[in-house]
């Protein structure tokens, strides 16, 4: 049995959310809300309530980056200072913590920020090849619902979209 991807475009969030609610109520057998992807021009504040809790892990990478930054900062600076004894110390400690804290703080932020950015690239699926079912109307003013379904569920999903006044329905075979 072939696998299809179907996309319905809706003129507003209300209709799109109503369609997702129907999927949640299993009005289309074999299709669950976990199969649903919503594409929108803005992030709707109630999207979590409709699609359910979908965790975001990017902050863990931020924390790792920040910890790495501060640790690297400490060892890098103190390592450099400890091996640079030609520099006159003037009776001050070789590894001065107060001034090193300033630079460790900057490194914490530097690595935290870059780790956050790279985590964002990988975790949000950016840089991946774009789905051919993308519609430019999504970046304008329409809301798209994308579902991967088996061939036998294709018609019920399309009917559901039509029932909720989908402006346009597109499909493609993915497997």
């Amino acid at each position: 049995m072939s696998k299809h991807c179907v996309m319905g475009l809706f003129s507003d969030f209300d209709e799109a959310f109503a369609a997702i609610s129907d999927i949640r109520k299993t009005k289309v057998p074999g299709v669950s809300v976990d199969d649903v992807t919503l594409k929108s021009p803005i992030e709707h504040p109630e999207i979590e309530e409709i699609l359910g809790e979908r965790p975001v892990h990017v902050q863990k990478f931020t924390l790792l980056g920040a910890i790495f930054g501060v640790t690297f900062g400490f060892f890098f600076l103190s390592g450099a200072q400890a091996t640079f004894l030609v520099q006159p110390q003037g009776g001050k400690p070789v590894v001065p913590l107060p001034s090193n804290f300033v630079l460790m703080y900057e490194m914490l932020i530097f690595f935290g920020v870059w780790c956050t950015f790279f985590a964002f690239l990988f975790l949000s699926g950016l840089l991946k090849k774009r789905h051919t079912l993308y519609s430019e109307k999504v970046s304008l003013d329409q809301v798209g619902i994308l579902i991967d379904v088996d061939e036998d569920c294709l018609e019920p999903v399309k009917n559901l979209f039509k029932q909720h006044k989908a402006v346009e329905i597109r499909e493609e075979v993915i497997k």
Partner: protein, 472 residues
């Protein structure tokens, strides 16, 4: 009393795209003229730098005691200018002040370009520009490292961190808009936006991660921005020079930075509103809010000035006190009083509602505020070097033509970067304005529904004879 909305919530999303994308097309003659002026200004600076590069630091009048002067004052000025964009954008984002949405993009761009301008000045000031990499901690076979105790090295770390974080903040915030540009562009623009939008499709997973990342970046940027200007203040405050060894310098620098940045936001707000016909997005109520914020910061700056003056006055440090008197009555007195007028008196125009709503007046006031802030930086650097501990070194300094040309050219450099930016990238955030419109429309609908509900409830109560609130 005016009762206008920050934005018209009935504006169509398609129109928002259309208006912003239109601003990026077909530059008018005025645009090319502005580009030409900026290039000429930059050419002046390049010629002056060529003279300085080939001759040495003599033409810049840098000598003992004036080893720092116009270049460092201008460096502090541009660092200050960079503060409002990202810092205010981050703070307003965290506190959910949605009126920031139509104006934060160009403010963040201003931050990035100000930093790129500021970063040039320590390099120009070095004289031996080819040795600028010595400040970086790189592994050399001689085992040499920079002095990590020096605030000048802290500067290099802080500014490069702030520049990269600000650029990322600007770029991440722009990704959904770059996708809009990609979907509407042709030719080289299409290729550019396709690469820069990183395959954004408006997927719910992308939005969820985007929101979290944007919030995390904002949380990083607020302390970072404060630390950057505190570190710049440490360049001065860590010394024992009169007028510089001041405990209040870090907050004073941060307040001054926010102040000049806010004033620059007002200047660019008026220019973009006029030239790109963004009246529907950069509205008068948003200008009023920006002005009120600037006024509040102006008063903080004024207060910190008073604290500094009074602590010097009552501190019994004779060098500091003499310097303060010399600032107010000596050869730099006209600069000092102009700074006080522009920085502490002129902002009262922002407190008058009628003036706040008059764009040409606000444009002039914002320029005056920044003139005051430039003089403030000059008054920090020059008098201390002119009238330090040793009277035999006393010397008044006004900057040479080479210095002035480079400072003048830095405005051309900043202007050129900004002009290129506004024609290649959207200067108003389309998706965030859509969000603003969406939320306000929902709020309006909810209010209407609540009003109808209460009206119906009251009608039902009066029909059943139950006492209303008045009766109770």
């Amino acid at each position: 009393m005016y009762n206008e909305k920050d934005i018209n919530e009935q504006i169509a999303w398609a129109k928002i795209n259309e208006d912003v994308l239109r601003s990026m097309e077909n530059p008018r003659k005025a645009y090319w003229l502005a580009v030409l002026i900026c290039i000429l200004m930059l050419a002046c600076a390049a010629f002056a730098e060529y003279i300085q590069y080939t001759t040495g630091m003599g033409p810049a009048n840098l000598n003992n005691p004036h080893m720092w002067d116009m270049y460092i004052a201008t460096f502090v000025f541009w660092i200050g200018m960079s503060h409002s964009g990202t810092l205010l954008s981050a703070i307003l984002h965290i506190i959910h002040a949605d009126w920031r949405k139509p104006i934060y993009r160009f403010a963040e761009a201003m931050t990035t370009f100000s930093l790129m301008t500021a970063g040039l000045f320590p390099i120009i000031h070095l004289g031996r520009v080819w040795n600028m990499y010595w400040v970086l901690p790189y592994v050399s076979d001689r085992g040499h490292w920079p002095n990590f105790r020096s605030p000048l090295v802290w500067d290099a770390f802080a500014i490069s961190t702030y520049l990269s974080a600000s650029m990322l903040f600007l770029f991440i915030g722009m990704i959904p808009d770059l996708a809009i540009c990609r979907d509407n562009a042709r030719g080289w623009r299409k290729k550019l936006y396709t690469v820069l939008s990183l395959g954004w499709t408006g997927h719910d997973k992308q939005w969820r991660n985007f929101r979290k990342v944007y919030l995390l970046m904002a949380c990083f940027l607020i302390p970072l921005a404060v630390s950057v200007h505190s570190i710049v203040s440490a360049d001065f405050a860590m010394s024992i020079m009169p007028g510089w060894h001041v405990t209040t310098f870090p907050p004073y620098f941060v307040a001054g930075a926010l102040y000049s940045g806010c004033a620059a936001i007002i200047t660019l707000f008026v220019l973009l509103r006029y030239f790109f016909r963004f009246e529907e997005y950069m509205t008068t109520p948003i200008m009023e809010k920006t002005c009120k914020l600037t006024f509040a910061i102006a008063m903080v700056w004024t207060y910190l000035n008073l604290v500094e003056f009074s602590s010097v006055w009552y501190g019994h440090d004779i060098y500091n006190k003499e310097l303060l008197i010399a600032k107010a009555t000596g050869p730099y007195a006209w600069v000092f009083w102009t700074m006080i007028f522009c920085g502490s008196v002129a902002p009262f125009a922002l407190a008058v509602q009628k003036l706040r709503r008059h764009m040409p007046t606000m444009f002039v006031v914002s320029l005056l505020l920044n003139l005051g802030m430039f003089f403030e930086r000059w008054m920090i650097v020059a008098p201390t070097l002119s009238m330090s501990h040793s009277p035999h070194q006393w010397d008044i300094m006004w900057g040479s033509i080479v210095e002035w040309a480079i400072v003048f050219g830095s405005f051309g450099w900043f202007g050129l970067l900004f002009l290129v930016f506004v024609k290649i990238f959207p200067s108003v955030s389309m998706y965030e304005v859509k969000e603003m419109v969406f939320h306000r429309r929902r709020h309006l609908v909810n209010e209407d529904a609540a009003a109808k509900f209460h009206r119906r409830k009251d009608d039902a109560k009066s029909a059943s004879g139950e006492p209303g609130l008045e009766g109770a």
